[in-house]
């Protein structure tokens, strides 16, 4: 019976929310009053208020008054922080997240397989997560394109997309693209070494340069043909190659590169390659050995999206420690804590607390690893990541400080709209349970007649 009740609860919560949404005029105001506001952009504001107009935060401070017709939510001294942003996720995608049938697959696009019915979108909200960057897996040196989504549970695939967020290209180094841990899963595939992984990327870059050249030549002859007014025959254009166009987008900086890697030497090596080709390498994913190369990461401006204390699950993931994220942050590397997992996603705030406990970073720095830092990595820091006027009203409310081990996320707001309200959800669920109970004896009677 439980799933049924949960289902009714979720559906009821959706219904309530959609009704609220229906009433929401585009510019409806909401005043969140009397909260411990963790702004991230400035210091914390105890007993602070946040005024939301439509989808945006318009005022943050103390003693704000509600405009006429505004909805007032009394936070009663609870904590409110910017919605958590998970910069490494694979949720809300349908089918396999790895296209392993070819070595380099930049033509593959997560946008094509967004699954708005994935219940993990709802679960994300229960952990205060309001946006994720969901991506291709790490089976290929260059995998598919990734996409940033907002957790607008109940909306269609297009409406989940975080508008304005740059598209990304997922790369991977080391054991996964080498298929080191995949023996018996099919024919062995080039490359089998870390050197080979890098070389496969370089090869494709060269092919893409040739491809771009062909198109440039075509444009020239086509122009000549147009200018000749029929004397020179119009040339046939080169055949469109989606894979090489993906690489071209990488070389042109249109796609932001998110590179999975563990070992410091191959991270260094790929940074050199990206420098040589002018590729926009934004972030290393996991990067467990990043703490060894902080100078180079800072110099090249590459961030790290990592775990607090998750390691040892394979050979290349041993050389790290729970202080690693903190060490990187202290040396000036942009660090985000991410989940790579639909379960861990729901308590990323615990991971941030661990970097305070083990690594000694400030609470503010730890919260940044969940908010503005991943927002910068995803290129969405203009819109989210802090609580300040002009930003999207993506907020998470906690009963205790979010870094407190016993904290619980109680409410999550995306674009000024409450998408998750724990109290309401539990109430609906209780009601559904009671109704179910009422029904059961009736059924029994019916059955016996």
């Amino acid at each position: 019976m439980k799933p049924r009740i949960a289902a009714i609860g979720i559906c009821a919560a959706l219904l309530v929310l959609s009704l609220c949404g229906g009433l929401t005029a585009a510019e409806k105001a909401v005043l969140l009053k009397n909260g411990q506001v963790i702004t991230v952009s400035g210091g914390p504001i105890p007993g602070g208020d946040i005024l939301v107009q439509g989808t945006k935060i318009v005022k943050v401070g103390k003693g704000l008054s509600a405009p006429p017709g505004a909805e007032v939510i009394d936070l009663g001294g609870r904590w409110v922080m910017p919605g958590i942003i998970d910069s490494h996720s694979h949720i809300a995608l349908e089918g396999d997240v790895n296209e392993t049938g070819a070595l380099l697959t930049p033509e593959v696009d997560c946008k094509d397989v967004i699954n708005p019915q994935d219940i993990n979108i709802f679960y994300a909200l229960t952990g205060g997560v309001t946006a994720v960057h969901t991506m291709h897996g790490s089976a290929n040196p260059i995998g598919g394109k990734g996409i940033s989504l907002k957790m607008r549970w109940g909306k269609g695939p297009e409406e989940l997309v975080f508008a304005g967020a740059p598209l990304t290209s997922k790369w991977a180094l080391g054991e996964n693209p080498k298929r080191s841990n995949m023996s018996g899963m099919g024919p062995s595939r080039y490359p089998r070494t870390r050197m080979g992984v890098e070389e496969s990327i370089r090869d494709e870059f060269e092919k893409a340069r040739e491809y771009m050249k062909k198109w440039a030549e075509y444009e020239k002859t086509a122009k000549a043909a147009r200018d000749s007014k029929g004397k020179v025959p119009t040339p046939l254009p080169p055949k469109k190659d989606y894979r090489l166009e993906g690489i071209t987008d990488i070389l042109n900086g249109k796609l932001w590169v998110r590179c999975h890697g563990y070992q410091s030497e191959e991270m260094l090596s790929i940074m050199r390659l990206c420098k040589e080709y002018g590729v926009k390498l934004v972030c290393f994913e996991h990067g467990l050995e990043s703490y060894r190369i902080t100078n180079e990461l800072v110099e090249y401006g590459v961030a790290v999206s990592t775990f607090a204390d998750f390691w040892g699950y394979k050979w290349e993931a041993y050389n790290t420690m729970p202080q690693a994220a903190a060490l990187c942050a202290k040396r000036g590397v942009l660090v985000a804590l991410s989940s790579d997992d639909a379960e861990r996603m729901r308590h990323l705030f615990n991971d941030a607390a661990k970097t305070v406990r083990f690594g000694g970073v400030t609470e503010d720095a730890a919260v940044r690893m969940l908010t503005i830092n991943p927002a910068k990595i995803m290129g969405v820091d203009r819109w989210v990541g802090t609580i300040e006027p002009g930003k999207d009203a993506d907020l998470a409310v906690f009963n205790r400080h979010p870094l407190d081990p016993f904290t619980v996320c109680e409410m999550t707001m995306v674009d000024g709209k409450v998408y998750f309200d724990r109290a309401k959800y539990l109430e609906e669920r209780k009601k559904a349970e009671e109704e179910e109970k009422k029904k059961e004896p009736e059924k029994k009677d019916g059955g016996e007649v």
Partner: protein, 540 residues
């Protein structure tokens, strides 16, 4: 003398086939003129004729009306107790196909020697080449009022090309209505190391391949026109097969497993400018009605009413999934009708004509008006595939594909008395109600089963048969599963089973027949296609 002994069996079987085909054809050949007298006629071209006559000559409807004279050369059927309907058409199915046995040889694939077929890329695979028409199959359909069907291979990415047949003659050359009508596009990638092997990979592949086909078409025709100064493009059978569909000269059919597949198909079709149909295998087109309306989409609507694994219901456990399958999915056709979205019924996902008819009945029970259901089986599919001048209604000059029923056609107990296909008459005997054929075999005991093809595996089945009722236990690599509610009729059996693999519920429908200690048959897995199986009794 050795010659003769060798040839005798061959000669015998040839003459046997000749005799059989002669006996099936004879009725149609001898009587090319029929008249149905004093029947109620639902023409669908106008209001029903309460008491009228209908004349069939040389395969076509010659005349229909309240006071049509009966020609002297006609054999007369007394229609006083009968209603005449246009013959029903299955908008899309695959059960009449007998595709060559597929044995996936993993050693070959592991050595990197895979073929396009292994990748699910078979745009050249034509339903016409592999259709398996016959009297037994026809009878199953005729009994329920079906006299035509649209057949298409449904496995892989480019699944193959469809064909439309009248269920009139075992000779496919005579039964054929249209050939290579549509190209199937599926979203079920191969599950081994070939490209594409993910859903996202399939989408990328489709864009490239369809784009390549348009390019191939342009490059080829340009070379044929100019020749001088142009490099000749390489030939490619796959691109040649795709070209007509990629350039929208002919329609494709997207085989959609859920609402997401439908949305994706709409955007693919818009991006690549394709002419298309949506085959809604998951029964979730009601979730995307505004999008379907906006795109003026034509839907081929299945009636299996199984909630796809991606649905919110399935993600919340079996109870919730079953509730949705009972209360929500059967309303899909009614909702499409209400929204005015043109749809035809498709038998995909239902294993045989009977289950198809039951599914249609479920849709009617869930609120689909009967006249809409009838349209979705006659006029609409005829119009979809460009056959509205030949089929779909009862009008002079159209093909005589008709059914003569006692009472209503779309009823729980349909009593079809005669079916006409291409003007040929098929008489259907009344089955005694509630009595199937008595079992002539007993399956009780342990069997070792081998499933072939994509989902190849070995299983052990422990059957328990009591008269016609069949239940049992199946031991699979994923655990043991039980089933009840199966049935045995003659030497044929069928049962349905729900297995849970990696958190996903999968419904499997097994049907086959027993010959001593051997059985052969097929297993249908929702929208994922069909596989053949064999089994042998484990002695003791």
């Amino acid at each position: 003398m050795p010659h003769r002994t060798r040839f005798r069996p061959l000669l015998f079987s040839l003459s046997f086939i000749f005799l059989v085909s002669l006996s099936l054809r004879s009725e149609q050949d001898l009587h090319r003129v029929w008249a149905v007298k004093d029947a109620r006629i639902i023409t669908l071209a106008g209001p029903p004729i309460e008491k009228g006559n209908l004349v069939i000559r040389d395969g076509l409807i010659e005349a229909v009306g309240a006071s049509i004279p009966i020609p002297k050369d006609a054999e007369v059927i007394d229609g006083a107790k009968l209603t005449v309907y246009p013959g029903l058409m299955d908008g899309l199915g695959q059960s009449l196909l007998k595709l060559p046995e597929e044995k996936t040889d993993m050693t070959r694939i592991y050595s990197g020697e895979f073929t396009d077929k292994d990748r699910g890329i078979t745009p050249g695979l034509a339903a016409f080449d592999h259709v398996n028409l016959g009297k037994a199959a026809f009878e199953k359909y005729h009994k329920l009022g079906f006299v035509a069907g649209h057949v298409m291979p449904d496995r892989g990415v480019f699944t193959g090309r469809s064909a439309l047949f009248s269920f009139s003659d075992p000779d496919k050359n005579k039964a054929l209505l249209l050939k290579d009508v549509c190209l199937g596009i599926g979203f079920s990638p191969s599950n081994f190391l070939v490209y594409p092997n993910s859903l996202m990979g399939v989408h990328a592949y489709l864009k490239q391949a369809l784009n390549d086909a348009v390019y191939f078409d342009q490059a080829t025709s340009r070379w044929l026109k100019e020749m001088k100064g142009l490099t000749r493009p390489d030939h490619s059978p796959n691109l040649e097969a795709l070209a007509g569909y990629a350039t929208a000269a002919k329609p494709v059919i997207f085989l959609c497993r859920n609402q997401n597949d439908i949305r994706r198909s709409l955007s693919l079709a818009a991006e690549l400018k394709l002419d298309y149909f949506i085959a809604d295998l998951g029964g979730e087109s009601f979730e995307v009605i505004p999008e379907l309306k906006k795109a003026k989409t034509r839907v081929l609507c299945t009636v299996a009413f199984k909630a796809p694994g991606s649905s919110l219901y399935a993600q919340q456990g079996k109870a919730e999934k079953e509730r949705a399958e009972k209360e929500i999915y059967p309303k899909n056709p009614a909702r499409l009708a209400e929204a005015g979205i043109p749809f035809a019924f498709s038998s995909l996902g239902t294993d045989d004509p009977k289950a198809f008819a039951e599914g249609i009945q479920k849709a009617i029970d869930a609120g689909l008006p009967k006249e809409k259901a009838l349209e979705a089986l006659t006029k609409t599919p005829a119009a979809f595939f460009g056959l509205d001048r030949a089929l779909g209604t009862i009008e002079p000059g159209k093909i005589a594909n008709l059914v003569l029923v006692e009472g209503e056609l779309l009823a729980k107990e349909t009593k079809v008395r005669f079916a006409f296909a291409d003007g040929g008459r098929f008489e259907l005997k009344e089955a005694k109600p509630g009595e199937g054929e008595k079992p002539t075999v007993n399956l009780t005991g342990k069997w070792e089963m081998t499933i072939e093809g994509g989902m190849a595996m070995k299983l052990t089945v422990d059957f328990a048969q009591e008269e016609a009722a069949l239940s049992g236990k199946m031991t699979t690599p994923f655990g043991m599963f039980e089933f009840t509610g199966g049935s045995v009729s003659g030497k044929d059996f069928s049962f349905e089973m729900n297995v849970s693999v990696g958190g996903q519920d999968i419904d499997l429908f097994f049907s086959g027949s027993v010959e001593g200690d051997r059985m052969t048959g097929s297993v249908v897995q929702g929208g994922a296609g069909t596989a053949e199986f064999t089994a042998r009794r484990i002695p003791g």
